[in-house]
Amino acid sequence: MSYLDKTIVELHELLLKKEVTPLLLAKEAIEKAKKDPNNAFETIVEKEALEFASSLKECEEDNLLWGIPFVCKDNISTKDILTTASSEILKDYVPVFDAEVIRKLKDKKCVLIGKTTLDELAMGGTGTTGHKGVTYNPYDPSKTCMIGGSSCGSCASVAASIVPFSLGSDTGDSIRKPASYGGLVGYKPTWGKISRYGLFPFAPSLDHVGFFTRSIEDGAILLNALQGYDPKDGSSLKDHDEDNLKNLKNGVNGIKICVFKEIIDSINDKVILDAFNKSIDNLRSKGANVNIISFPKELLNAIYPTYMVISCAEATSNNANLDGIKFGPRGEGNTYQEVMMNSRTKGFSELIKRRFVIGSYSLFKENQEELFLRAQKARHLIVNKVNEVFEKYDIIYSPCVSKARNPIKGGIDDKLSSTYLIAENHLAIGNFGGYPSLSLPIGMDDGFPFDANLTGRVFEDSLVFQVGYALEETLGYKNLSIEKVVK
């Protein structure tokens, strides 16, 4: 009997009725994780998980997360458990503290099963650049199409129903885009709503901790557990917690939703467009006002370069601690400069070094005005324009990807095409403005799922879930996993 293709809500019912125990769930998850063919795991914490699960005896009725197994992206600090960020430079790093989100889930008696792969240091969107190699898309037995990244392992594990939810991080679209390739609900909150304490920083002004689930309701449950002020995180929001389940089922009647015409125009894939248009019809039929509006194309085109400059600049600084002196395999050398250079040369892959160079270059005194500060200005322009849209609309709705199947080799060559610049990169708007942003599956293309995205005003995470719930009900893709699809 398999349980882990069920949602958190379903599992809670079974746990309450004692049809299943946390230990049984943990065992099943660990078995599946061990057999995982997709290279989704850095570490499986069998001993700790089984110990903790066996200590859980009486199901807490009002705690929907009690005894639920989960996995966590390996750039989130776990005390006494190897946390590598899928990078050689941290391959032996064992943190001495838990991230705030881990602490909260432990409090809720969730059982951590393992740490999942990512694009090295969360810098990448393909799921191919971690030190353990490519993480595969569970929907693709041929292993040629990407699961996306950087939260590739966390996405693959939930899509493969190893666990019902997982933690990830999202700096450009690192949860919400892979969620599309994995047919999952992927969410990042309003910036500051979920503590980042313990998340390895990539670009703090854009970084978010978020999660993957297989239903909107599960997501709202998780957000209730993870949100909240954390004094250890200086950017943490005070007094913005609400019960995200309270209005979840209130529907979309009268909700104002807009779609950017320029994003639709940048997509050629008929399956995606048809499914997206159908979902718009569904929203309208439920009473939502959906309008197609125009958004300045030059701003949409600027998203990717703006993102690259800001994120690389912040990244080069954030990762300067990884110098071989405190962390990482120590390089040889007679001076501290030699030690650092050799450690970092060996410890980082070429892609990471390339991003550090871009970041450093854009921060140089002579370039800062032209690159870093200009990118900051572009970010402000984009956010201001989006905020104008939010004066009229509650939600921005868009497809997450330009196609469901994105080959690992080959892919989109023309990095200056609208398909790449806009269709594949617009989700970073959510990071620029710190908006709550949620992806959910809206269709399948020959066995490959794909998502659309709902982005709302800051602090209105609850509304995003409410709209997501209504949409999910109309589509029939709730609790999608490879087991469900195969059945």
Binding site: Y93, A99, P201, S235, A320, D323, K326
Partner: protein, 474 residues
Amino acid sequence: MNFEAVIGIEIHVEMKTKSKMFSSSPNYFGASPNTLVSPLDMAFPGTMPTVNKQAVINAIRVSNLLNMEIDHTLYFDRKNYFYSDLPKGYQITQNDRPIGKNGYVIIDSLDGKKKIEIERLHMEEDTCKQLHLSTYTLLDYNRAGTPLIEIVSRPDIKNGYEAMKYVDKIREIVVFSNVSDGKMEEGSLRCDVNISLRPVGESKFGTKVEIKNLNSVSNVQKAIDFEIRRQSGILLSGGIISQETRRFDETKKETVLMRKKTDSVDYKYFREPNIAPIYLSDEFVQKAIDTCLPSLDQKRDYYLSLGLNIDEANQVLLSFEMSNYFDKLIEGKKYVKTLWNLLMGEVLSYLNKNEIEINDFIVTPSNLVTLASLIDSGEISFNQGKKILQEMVKNDDDPKKIQEVLGLKQNSNLGDIESFCKEAIKNNPQSISDYKNGKDRAFSFLVGQVMKLSKGKVNPQLVSKVMKELIDKE
């Protein structure tokens, strides 16, 4: 040709807050290496800075004492560079918007009062301490993250004396506002001097030389005076000054080359993304200022108003801690002179002899006040007071109890005193005639004899009075 020196000084002050600038690690000097360390101080991935409120209050107070404009919004920036003493690979500082700007202090220069302008005051964090050994370097992260304020003067200082006075003034301000120990020898106040020479009347600046490792106020003066001579010598012989960093060698009493300065490092500053701007309310800033401890000048005025003379006042004020103890003694504004005498005499020599800091002095101020009251009421003599004090330093016992146990009580019975005096006069006829012939010392001798006969138990003031009356009658 005559040259004038253009001198600017950067002072780093380590704040003595309970915890560090951005982490909750304890912050104090002298702990075993690497025992005051939290994950943030070692730059563990995922740790995040939170701003120390007391450090902000301190920075506001010092900015105010330096007559600066105070920024009511706090911003922090990252200063990026690789160095083995820098855990994160960047330092969190305030580059763009220092909390204080455009201030000044008044110093006593050789030509009278002089205003030294101060460009900026900002908060930042310290690096770790390095101990370079033959083939390796030891790192102590205790210091990493210690809150600092950096105070940057404008180049208004003209010579070593003014520099010394300036540093001393800053030290006084940070010490008396309870912001820092201000100990240059321990590195809790460090100063870097920038100095260049130019012909008198020239408006262009000469090449700047930086002097580091100045571990006392007097070395600041010596280093600058040496450097002025060195640079004038080079310029007069037609040489050119090279841009370099020098340090002061205490044994040679001269500055020596540390390194030539090449192109300055690009620190790639940018706003610290993990600290959102912090808005300080007017009330918060005003409260920080209003609750600041009194300055040295304010304390001195107060002591003078209680009857101390200026030398006495200055002596207590040589040490912030000593003056704080004295403040507790004189809370009741009574026995001020006696308390000063006890503190600066017996207590100080006891502390010095036993190498005890006043903060660790066992005797509570209230017991010392009781002792002074016994002396001032004539209950005991000052000398008896000293004997009691010798006991008090053991267990901080009540001086009245000690007095009882030791049987120390001053005898003020006029009959007793008169008979002692008569005996002394009888025994020392020579002294009487000496005194009558104008030798004042003979009188003191006679009083001494009375004290001896009474085993020190009679009131010396009364003895003098009675003795004088008796001799006059003879």
